[in-house]
């Protein structure tokens, strides 16, 4: 199944119509291995209305197609979810690495996350782990 087919399936699966703007957003997000900020998305697909973009992103998030993760500046970044997310079960429990140089947000999926121990009384629902520093690319440039 190629990408396009995959996207169309994804949309159909969530009862969302297959439209130009939506496919653009999906292919953009899937092309990057990093989470993308709303402003970035906006500048890349400038011909799509800003409001439409907001609505697409929030629809996708509700349906469990994408995750929203806030970077160090509190701006929303978006990334495609693992395939087992849906509107009831959102799992985004991997490390988000924010590069302070290129500002990219890396989703480091296949890192084994250490177990979380909470004090008595707290009931855990989900967690997120984010780190800052230099990504491999920027780390090299600096050296």
């Amino acid at each position: 199944m190629n990408n396009n087919q995959h996207f169309e399936h994804l949309l159909k699966q969530h009862q969302l119509k297959r439209t130009g703007p939506r496919l653009r957003v999906l292919s953009l997000l899937s092309a990057k291995n990093v989470a993308t900020s709303q402003p970035d998305l906006e500048s890349v697909i400038a011909d799509v209305d800003r409001v439409t973009l907001y609505r697409i992103l929030s629809a996708f998030e509700e349906k469990g197609i994408i995750h929203k993760v806030f970077d160090l500046n509190g701006t929303a970044n978006y990334a495609l979810c693992a395939s087992d997310c849906n509107e009831h079960d959102h799992h985004d429990e991997h490390l988000h690495f924010n590069c302070i140089a290129c500002k990219n947000v890396y989703c480091l999926d296949d890192l084994d996350m250490p177990p979380v121990k909470l004090p008595a009384g707290f009931r855990l629902d989900g967690f997120s782990f984010s780190a800052t520093g230099l990504c491999p690319k920027c780390s090299k440039k600096e050296a």
Copy 2:
């Protein structure tokens, strides 16, 4: 040293003048064991201008007096720093627990954080760990 003296010392230490609004913010933040959002602060000290509050918070953050932590909605919450922070060295490496019921953000300082292992190439600078769920109070209410 009582609280007030402590605050005045804190301000002097960072070359900030001892003003009413600033002391109000400090005593508010120290009274809570949870991080407080800008809107919350604003509603509690409604007589202080909104702009002033913004400026106080960013000044405090720059000086290393408070930490900014974003909650699940991407809104900024503020909490007093551990005493060993300054403008060059910000450490906020403890668990932030966001209660989905009361919306409070708990700073769980004395939890031993698991070590972070990053893939090769990434250079770690700092990290933050945040969890969601129910805090002890709300957990009881639900039962």
